[in-house]
């Protein structure tokens, strides 16, 4: 064929890339199919046949392309491939799987072109098939990797949230709760439970579970053979992958796995402070389980261990925090209790306050028993009370050993008994029943012992106070109760002592009245500095000293000088104040002296009350004050009333003393006509009332016999006997004979009773005026009321009263105007 005559190489020699088109078609690196528009295969290359294992004859004219696809892809072919091809005339890179002759699946990518004839009708489809086996497996790996990454990310997110929760959880219980919620979202666990270590009791306590029907919920000692305890001892993660493994190592776990349908269990110790060289400190165990057997990847195991450490640290922190808070609470409680006990001085009240502070703050029941007095003292609070017999036994034990006996689980009593000791002596016991979770802890024991120590001391102090107070009061009472002279018509003395309210100690106020000679009466009111037994003792000494030193010759000034000297031996008497008066009963002359004391108040029958301001000098034994003792003399009219008193009567916080003096003078004047009996008590009641912080001591002396007795009393039957006392004294003072005295007393009482019962039947504030005069031959009494009196016939009994008046008196006149005046007269020296 060559013009030059060169060899014709076109037939023998073909260039390597000069492919034979037929061979290229058959052995192309891709499958090639030609199908009719309905998919029937009309031509197929060798490559496709080799990949699928079909013979040419089996395919051509017999099979459609879609017949070669997997069931899923057949649908895909109908729904996507065919419509797309029909619309666009070509499709690219459709991923399908071809099922080979032997059933193997071949992942392929398919490009197809639809050839159309004249007029656009589909004529033929040419399909190129690429083998995509490698590409598919690569895709699958990618997918798996992505899924794994997603799971890991989810775990990390769950753990991050839990770590955040842990760091925010301030208490052990909240940490436990947060840890417990981790395994289900993080690892798809079926349920989880948490056990915490109680180091004091060396026990593992099951605290919470997401499914309490699983597992064994009893607390276990750390030495228990149970799987949880084993893990707590070893301190490393245990994965029990199958029931068989559980059967082999932990029969208890296998049993509960069977019961609750679990195949895999993870036991994770919660550890803190894990240095490499030392065993980690196990604070608890987290157990979680799966229904199916679950193989945990290395990544998951790493994350689980991390969870254990994070949770452990959080628990450790919470425990420290809990401890600190509890310590703070205990310290606060002790401080508050001590303060609160200090506010009460009395023993009973202190004991009461102690049990009331303890219940309910630290115990649900508490009792204080003290061995004081014959019967002892028992105060309890809360309830229900424990078994009395068991408790008595424990109380006896604790008392005998002088050591606390702490409640232990299952001791049948549940009460801790603490001996209350002071100065090495057991005073009694404090018994407590506390909530079970407060038992046992060492710190709690220290706290209770501290509480008992403080309480013991406080109660002992109260007991001593009580003792001293009782002695002081007895001493004071015995001194004050000593008889004041009476029954002498020349004078009458009325005294009153009112102890300070608010349970304060006894004060050093005292009064005294005694006859120095048959015609000389001494009256004293004084006040010793201080309170309690010392003051009471000193008061007694001063009182005796005055009685011993008083003499008919020397007078008040000299007596005070002698008391100054007395002070040099009895220093506690220094700065005592004293008002001392001597009354000559024949001449009615008063000589008085005031050593730093408030001035006496004198009310003579005419005029208003006057303070006696002369003869003043410094308190007894004063070093800075003026100790030149002087005395002053006053002649008293018959019927004069002299009032001596201590500062408690007039001194008020926030009120000038002048004001106190004014009020006293006014009240005293207002009672000018009140019976002497009850006068001092009435004054104290009006001026200080019941709630006062100081002792009050009063002495009122009535001198001589009034010519005319005038009294006004309230419409109260109790007042009649007070009036009678005055009237009797006055009658005797005027030397009226006993029969006449009795008759006048009876008639006057009946008349006053009538006025109260009838005149003032509807008026509790009514006043009955009584006046009496005496002449040489008769006594006349006048009783006046301003009430609405009813006739005598209205009441048989009062009728008898009127009859008694008529019978016991010689003359009786009734004057009924506004109210009623009964005037009665009785001759002296014999019944008519």
């Amino acid at each position: 064929m060559s013009e030059t005559g060169g060899p014709d190489v076109t037939n023998e020699l073909r260039l390597p890339w000069d492919d034979d088109p037929e061979d290229l078609y058959e052995h192309a690196p891709c499958g090639y199919l030609t199908t009719l528009p309905d998919g029937t295969i009309v031509r197929v290359n060798e490559t496709f046949l080799a990949w699928t294992g079909y013979t040419r004859a089996a395919l051509i004219g017999h099979r459609r392309f879609r017949d070669l696809l997997t069931a899923g892809d057949k649908i895909y072919h109908e729904t996507h491939y065919a419509p797309l091809l029909s619309m666009q005339s070509e499709v690219h890179e459709i991923a399908l799987e071809v099922v080979g002759e032997d059933g193997r699946r071949l992942p392929v990518l398919v490009n197809s072109v639809l050839e159309r004839g004249a007029g656009g009708a589909p004529r033929i489809i040419r399909t190129m098939v690429f083998n995509a086996t490698e590409r598919r497996s690569y895709e699958r790996e990618l997918l798996a990797a992505r899924r794994e990454a997603e799971l890991s990310e989810q775990r990390v997110r769950v753990l991050q949230r839990i770590v955040a929760d842990l760091s925010a959880a301030p208490t052990e219980a909240e940490v436990a709760e947060a840890v417990l919620r981790a395994p289900e979202p993080a690892f798809d666990a079926a349920s989880s439970s948490i056990y915490l270590m109680d180091a004091d009791r060396d026990q593992l306590i099951a605290v919470a579970s997401t499914d309490p029907t699983t597992g064994n919920w009893e607390d276990m000692p750390r030495s228990s053979p149970r799987a949880v305890a084993e893990v707590a001892r070893r301190g490393d993660l245990h994965v029990i992958g199958t029931l068989a493994e559980a059967d082999e190592h932990f029969p208890d776990l296998a049993e509960s796995m069977r019961r609750s349908g679990r195949a895999t269990v993870v036991l994770l110790p919660l550890t803190a402070g894990a240095g490499d060289e030392q065993a980690p400190h196990v604070l608890g165990v987290l157990a979680f389980s799966f229904r199916e057997e679950r193989l945990l990847s290395d990544g998951e195991l790493r994350v689980i261990r991390l969870l254990g450490q994070q949770a452990g640290q959080a628990l450790d922190r919470a425990r420290l925090y809990d401890d600190a808070r509890r310590r703070e609470e205990r310290a606060g409680f002790l401080a508050r209790t001590t303060r609160s006990l200090d506010e009460e001085h009395r023993l009973l009240q202190r004991a009461r306050r102690l049990v009331e502070r303890v219940v309910p703050e630290i115990a649900d029941w508490a009792a204080v028993r003290l061995q004081v007095g014959p019967a002892g003292l028992l105060e309890d609070a809360g309830g229900p009370a424990p078994d009395a017999e068991l408790l008595a036994g424990r109380v006896a034990d604790a008392t005998a050993k002088a050591e606390p006996i702490f409640a232990v689980d299952g001791d049948g009593l549940g009460c801790t008994v603490l001996p209350l000791t002071a100065r090495g002596k057991v005073l009694g016991t404090l018994s407590l029943r506390m909530a079970a979770d407060r038992r046992g802890a060492e710190a709690e024991k220290f706290f209770l012992v501290d509480l008992a120590d403080r309480s013991g001391l406080a109660l002992e102090n109260a007991r001593l106070y009580e003792q001293e107070r009782a002695i002081a009061r007895t001493l004071q009472r015995s001194l004050l109760a000593a008889d004041v002279p009476g029954g002498d018509p020349r004078f009458a003395v009325e005294t009153y002592y009112q102890a300070a309210a608010q349970d304060l100690e006894v004060g050093g106020d005292w009064f005294d009245a005694f006859l120095i000679s048959p015609h000389k009466l001494a009256v004293v009111v004084g006040d010793v500095v201080g309170r309690g037994i010392d003051a009471a003792t000193t008061m007694g000494q001063l009182r005796s000293a005055i009685r011993a030193l008083a003499s008919a010759e020397h007078g008040p000034a000299r007596l005070l000088e002698q008391l100054d000297r007395f002070c040099e031996r009895v220093d506690s008497a220094r700065m005592a104040t004293v008002v001392y008066g001597e009354i000559d009963l024949n001449s009615s002359e008063l000589a008085y002296a005031c050593a730093g004391h408030l001035p006496p108040l004198l009310h003579e029958p005419a005029g208003s009350p006057q303070y006696l301001l002369q003869a003043r000098s410094a308190p007894i034994g004063s070093r800075a004050g003026d100790r030149r003792r002087t005395e002053h003399r006053v002649r008293l009219a018959a019927g004069s009333r002299l009032l001596l008193y201590t500062d408690g009567l007039v001194e008020r916080r926030g009120r000038p003393i002048d004001r106190g003096f004014e009020i006293l003078a006014r009240e005293y004047a207002r009672r000018r006509d009140a019976p002497l009996k009850g006068l001092t008590a009435g004054l104290a009641d009006t001026l200080v009332g019941r709630d006062h912080a100081d002792d009050v001591c009063l002495l009122c002396l009535t001198l001589g016999t009034e010519e005319r007795l005038e009294r006004s009393i309230g419409a109260d039957p109790l007042q009649i006997s007070l009036l009678r006392a005055d009237l009797r004294g006055w009658l005797v003072g005027h030397a009226v004979d006993p029969d006449c005295v009795n008759a006048v007393l009876l008639a006057c009482s009946e008349a006053v009773a009538n006025a109260i019962e009838h005149g003032y039947r509807d008026d509790p504030f009514g006043v009955v005026d009584v006046s009496a005069t005496v002449s040489a031959d008769a006594v006349e009494v006048r009783v006046t009321d301003r009430g609405s009196w009813r006739g005598p016939g209205a009441d048989f009994a009062r009728g008898r009263g009127l009859q008694l008046i008529e019978d016991s008196m010689d003359e009786v006149f009734f004057d009924r105007g506004e109210g009623t005046t009964v005037t009665m007269r009785r001759h002296r020296g014999g019944v008519s």
């Binding site: 039957p717 009795n742 009876l746 009773a753 009994a797 008898r800």
Partner: protein, 114 residues
């Protein structure tokens, strides 16, 4: 509450009531209640008034009631009063039956037993 004015003891077959101090409108009712509480079951009653320093019509009413009550039940009663004194005066003024009054506790007790 009434202990300062009234106390009780047994004297032979009689319930012995000791009264003392002043008996008047203010305390007669309370004293009366205390006496009735002790004498409703008694077979005989002696009331010793020798220590009474004052007795008014309220006291008389009280004694009158007790005497009447015992008379109704057929039980004997005696009031012991001093030769003189406030109680005797008041009871005499009220004309208490002389067979009720005695000046001697032992004699009164003996008379009760008859």
């Amino acid at each position: 509450m009434t202990d300062q004015w009234v106390s009780f003891s047994q004297h032979g077959i009689a319930e012995l009531v000791h009264l003392k101090g002043e008996i008047d409108l203010a305390n007669a009712n309370d004293i009366g209640r205390a006496i009735v509480a002790h004498t409703t079951e008694a077979n005989a009653v002696l009331i010793d008034l020798t220590a009474v320093s004052f007795l008014d019509s309220a006291g008389v009413r009280l004694l009158d009631f007790i005497v009447g009550d015992l008379d109704d039940r057929g039980k004997p009663i005696k009031l012991v009063v001093g030769e003189r004194g406030a109680a005797r005066m008041t009871l005499q003024l009220c004309s208490f039956r002389t067979d009720l009054l005695s000046t001697d506790l032992e004699r009164a007790a003996a008379e009760l037993g008859r």
